[in-house]
C-alpha cells in the first residue's frame, strides 16, 4: 500500500489577490496528461490552469519535480441561450488531453454545451530584422530602406500561449457530462444526459449520434446517461453508465446507432437494503476503464466497484467508501448531497483505486492487499513534506482520540475530483478551490 508522505500544496487561487474562496475558483475537473508531465485543472469560472512538472535537477536529486503553473487561460465564457431564456454555465465539466504528437500540447475542455480543442504551445524565439517594419512594429518609411535583410530568430523569454483550435458546438440539447478521446486519436465522443455524439477532431460542423436514449415521450423518461468512456485499446468499444446503476458496453462496428448494447453490467439489488433511496445511491457517477482495458471501475454514492469485462452479472470487487452514511441518506437527500457526483481513478498499474468523500477525505483501496486508507486534504493537517496521517471515521459508541464522528463531518467539503499520475505515485486532489498534490517519499 502506498503511503503518500511527501506533500506539497498548490493553492490554485493564487491568481487572485485575495484568498477568499469565490465560487468561480471551485475546481471542477483535474486531469494529468498521458506522460504525467502536465496537470490541468478546470474551474467553475471557465478557466483552465495547466501545471508543469519541473525537470528533476541534478543538483538536488532528492527533490522530485514539483508542479508549477505553466499556463492559464479562459476556456469558456458564460453564455445565454436566448431561445430558452437560460444561462449556460461556463463551468468546465471535463478536460481530456490528447496524446502528444509534436512540441505543442492539445487538450479538450468542455462546459455544459460546447467542447473546445486548445493548443498550448511555447514560444521562446522571435523573429527580428523585418524590412518593412521596425522592432516596435511601426511601419518603416519605404524611402529609408536601402538594403534588404533576412529576419533572424532570436531567443526571448519563454511565453506559453493557449489558442483555441476547434470549437465543437450546437450538438447537445442536454448537459455534457463526459468527453473521451478514442485510441485512434482521430475521434472523440461527447456525452450528455440522453445522447452520445462522435466527433472527428478535425471537423467541427458535424458529429454523429451514436447513442440516443431519449424516449419519444419524455414522460417515460426514467433513466439518464451519467458517464461514458472509450476503451483504452479497442477503438470500436466504449461504455456508458446510467442513473439506474447499469453499465452498457457497445461496439461501434455493430451498428451506426449503438442503442443496443453488446454487454450489460448490473448487479442485482440487495433486497435487505432496499429503501426509497436505493435507486439514487445506485446511480453511477463515474466510470473508468483500467489502463489494461480488462477491468471497469464504477463509482456510485456509497461504493466503488470493479467489474471484469467478461462478467456481466456482478462486480468483481466492491469497496465501501463511506458506508456510515447509509443511515443518513434521508438527511443527505434533503440537503442534496446525495446527488453529489464523485469521480474515481486507477493508479498506473491498476492495483490501487482512489476516490473522494466528505470532510475533505479521500480514500484509497489496494486491490491486492485489500487494505484501504482514508486521508485528508486540508491545510491544517498537511504541511509541505509532512506525512499524511490516516484518518478514521467513528460510527458510533466510543470515539477514539483521533477519530471523527459521523455527525461532525463537514458535508460542504467534498472531494469530487482526483487524478493519479499515469506512471508514478503522484496524486492530485481538488478540495473545493484548493488543489493538493501528494507524492511518494523519495528514498
Amino acid at each position: 500500500m502506498d503511503e503518500e508522505i511527501d506533500t506539497r500544496k498548490i493553492n490554485s487561487s493564487f491568481l487572485r489577490e485575495h484568498n477568499y474562496a469565490t465560487e468561480a475558483d471551485i475546481i471542477s475537473t483535474v486531469e494529468f496528461n498521458s506522460s504525467g508531465e502536465l496537470l490541468a485543472t478546470g474551474d467553475k469560472g471557465g478557466r483552465v490552469v495547466v501545471f508543469q512538472r519541473e525537470q528533476e535537477s541534478k543538483n538536488q536529486p532528492h527533490r522530485r519535480g514539483e508542479y508549477n503553473v505553466y499556463s492559464t487561460f479562459q476556456s469558456h465564457e458564460p453564455e445565454f441561450d436566448y431561445l430558452k431564456s437560460l444561462e449556460i454555465e461556463e463551468k468546465i465539466n471535463k478536460i481530456r488531453w490528447l496524446p502528444q504528437q509534436n512540441a505543442a500540447y492539445f487538450l479538450l475542455s468542455t462546459n455544459d454545451k460546447t467542447v473546445k480543442l486548445w493548443k498550448i504551445s511555447e514560444r521562446d524565439k522571435r523573429p527580428e530584422g523585418y524590412n518593412l517594419k521596425d522592432e516596435d512594429g511601426r511601419i518603416r518609411d519605404p524611402t529609408t530602406i536601402t538594403a534588404l535583410r533576412v529576419p533572424v530568430l532570436r531567443p526571448m523569454d519563454l511565453m506559453v500561449e493557449a489558442t483555441p483550435r476547434r470549437v465543437f458546438s450546437n450538438a447537445h440539447t442536454y448537459h455534457i457530462n463526459s468527453i473521451s478521446v478514442n485510441s485512434d486519436y482521430e475521434t472523440y465522443m461527447s456525452t450528455d444526459d440522453l445522447r452520445i455524439n462522435l466527433w472527428n477532431l478535425e471537423i467541427t460542423n458535424r458529429s454523429f449520434n451514436i447513442v440516443d436514449i431519449k424516449p419519444s415521450n419524455m414522460e417515460e423518461l426514467t433513466e439518464v446517461i451519467t458517464a461514458a468512456e472509450f476503451h483504452p485499446n479497442h477503438c470500436n468499444t466504449f461504455v456508458y453508465s446510467s442513473s439506474k446503476g447499469s453499465i452498457r458496453l457497445c461496439d461501434m462496428r455493430a451498428a451506426a446507432l449503438c442503442d443496443n448494447h453488446s454487454k450489460f453490467f448490473e448487479e442485482p439489488e440487495d433486497p435487505s437494503n432496499r429503501s426509497f433511496f436505493s435507486e439514487i445511491i445506485s446511480s453511477i457517477s463515474d466510470v473508468k476503464f483500467s489502463h489494461s482495458g480488462r477491468y471497469l471501475m464504477t463509482r456510485d454514492y456509497l461504493t466503488v466497484k470493479v467489474w471484469d469485462l467478461n462478467m456481466e452479472n456482478k462486480p468483481l470487487e466492491t469497496y465501501q467508501v463511506h458506508d456510515y452514511l447509509r443511515s443518513k441518506l434521508c438527511s443527505l437527500y434533503e440537503n442534496d448531497c446525495i446527488f453529489d457526483k464523485f469521480e474515481c481513478v486507477w493508479n498506473g498499474t491498476d492495483s490501487v483505486l482512489m476516490t473522494g468523500s466528505y470532510n475533505n477525505f479521500f480514500r484509497m483501496f489496494d486491490r491486492n492487499t485489500k487494505r484501504d486508507v482514508t486521508l485528508e486534504a486540508s491545510r491544517e493537517n498537511s504541511k509541505p513534506r509532512a506525512i499524511l496521517k490516516p484518518r478514521k471515521v467513528c460510527v458510533g459508541g466510543k470515539r477514539r482520540k483521533d477519530e471523527i464522528s459521523v455527525d461532525s463531518l463537514d458535508f460542504s467539503k467534498k472531494i469530487l475530483h482526483t487524478a493519479w499520475h499515469p506512471s508514478e505515485n503522484i496524486i492530485a486532489v481538488a478540495a473545493t478551490n484548493n488543489l493538493y498534490i501528494f507524492q511518494d517519499k523519495v528514498n
Binding site: 469560472g45 463551468k91 419524455m218 438527511s331 442534496d336 446527488f339
Partner: protein
C-alpha cells in the same frame, strides 16, 4: 422495508452550504420536524409504528415534490437529479397505492360531477375532518405578513387545489392540513386563479400568476392522474404538458381554469429547460437592479451568483407581494 428516520432531519450533520437548496432545506426541516414531532406525539397515543412510517413517507414525498418544483429556476435544471427525484416520487406513490393510503385519501373527494368550487369545499371539509390531526401552524392563505419562507414554498407546492374528480390530490390531501388554514379559506367558491391572485397580493405581475399557475398546473397534473398512470404523471415533470392532448376526465375543468394561461408555456421539455413566457418580469431584471450591491465582481461570479440570487428574489418577491 427500511425507513429512514426523518425525525433526525433537524440535524443536518454540519452541512452549511448546499447553497441553492439550503434555505429551503432549513425551512423544510423546521416544518417537517415540527410536523413530525407533533404527529409522533399524537400517533404514540395510537401506538402505531406504521403511521410514523407513513408520515415519514409523506414527508419524503412532499420534500421530493418541492425539490422538483424548485428545479426550474434560472439555469437549466440538472436532468439526472430531476429524474432521480421523480423516480422516488413515483416509487412512493406506487407504494401508497398498494398500501391503500392512496385510496383512503381519495375517498374524501366526491364523485366526478363537482365544479371546482365544490371541490374546494371538499378540500376544506377534508381539512376540517382532520382537524384533530392538523398542526396549529397553518398557513395564512390570504395574507403574507409574517409568513415564513418555508410556508410560502410549501404553499406553492401544496396549494394545488383539487380540480379533479377521481383519484387525485394525494399530495394535497394529506398535506392539506399543512397548507390551508381552515378559517382563511374564506371564499370556497372562488376558483383557483382568483385564489392565486389574492394570495400574491394586489398589483402582482400577471406573469407571476402565470408562473405560479403553471407550477400549480404541474402539481395538479401530478396529483390528478390515477395511480395507474404514474409514468404519465411523472411525465409532467419532464415537460410536454399533455393537458391539451386530452387526458380523460377532468381536463375540461382544468382547461377552463387555465384557459388564459399563456399557451406558449406548454413547450417540450418545459420543465427541464424552464422556458419562461416572454412578458414575465425576468429574473434578470431583478438581478440587474440588485447587481451593484453584490460584492466584488469576479470572473464567472455574476452567473454563478445569479441562480442563487434569483431563487432568493423569487421567494422574496412572493413574500413581499411586489
Amino acid at each position: 422495508m427500511s425507513a429512514c428516520t426523518l425525525v433526525s432531519v433537524s440535524t443536518v450533520l454540519g452541512c452549511h452550504s448546499c447553497s441553492r437548496i439550503d434555505m429551503f432545506s432549513k425551512g423544510t426541516k423546521r416544518k417537517f420536524s415540527d410536523d413530525g414531532d407533533e404527529m409522533l406525539d399524537e400517533s404514540l397515543a395510537g401506538a402505531q409504528v406504521s403511521s410514523s412510517y407513513s408520515l415519514q413517507r409523506q414527508s419524503l414525498l412532499d420534500m421530493s415534490l418541492i425539490k422538483l418544483q424548485l428545479c426550474h429556476m434560472l439555469v437549466e435544471p440538472n436532468l439526472c437529479r430531476s429524474v432521480l427525484i421523480a423516480n422516488t416520487v413515483r416509487q412512493i406513490q406506487e407504494e401508497m397505492t398498494h398500501d391503500g393510503s392512496w385510496q383512503v385519501v381519495t375517498e374524501a373527494f366526491c364523485g366526478g360531477s363537482q365544479s371546482p368550487s365544490e371541490r374546494l369545499v371538499a378540500t376544506e371539509v377534508l381539512c376540517r375532518s382532520r382537524e384533530q390531526d392538523a398542526e396549529p401552524k397553518l398557513f395564512s392563505v390570504l395574507s403574507y405578513e409574517g409568513c415564513r419562507e418555508e410556508e410560502v414554498v410549501a404553499d406553492e407546492t401544496l396549494c394545488s387545489v383539487s380540480v379533479s374528480d377521481t383519484a387525485s390530490n394525494v399530495c394535497l390531501s394529506e398535506s392539506a392540513r399543512h397548507c390551508w388554514e381552515r378559517d382563511e379559506l374564506v371564499d370556497a367558491d372562488r376558483d383557483d386563479e382568483t385564489c392565486e391572485s389574492s394570495r400574491l397580493g394586489p398589483g402582482d405581475d400577471e406573469d407571476d400568476d402565470d408562473e405560479d399557475d403553471d407550477d400549480e398546473d404541474e402539481e395538479v397534473d401530478i396529483d390528478e392522474e390515477s395511480p395507474r398512470d404514474n409514468p404519465k404523471t411523472m411525465g409532467q415533470v419532464f415537460g410536454t404538458f399533455e393537458i391539451k392532448n386530452g387526458t380523460p376526465g377532468p381536463d375540461s375543468a382544468l382547461e377552463e381554469l387555465f384557459s388564459d394561461v399563456d399557451a406558449s408555456y406548454y413547450d417540450l421539455d418545459t420543465m427541464l429547460t424552464g422556458i419562461q413566457s416572454a412578458p414575465k418580469m425576468g429574473p434578470y431584471d431583478l438581478l440587474d437592479s440588485l447587481a451593484p450591491s453584490h460584492g466584488p465582481p469576479s470572473i464567472g461570479s455574476p452567473s454563478s451568483c445569479r441562480s442563487d440570487l434569483n431563487e432568493l428574489d423569487h421567494i422574496m418577491e412572493i413574500i413581499v407581494g411586489s
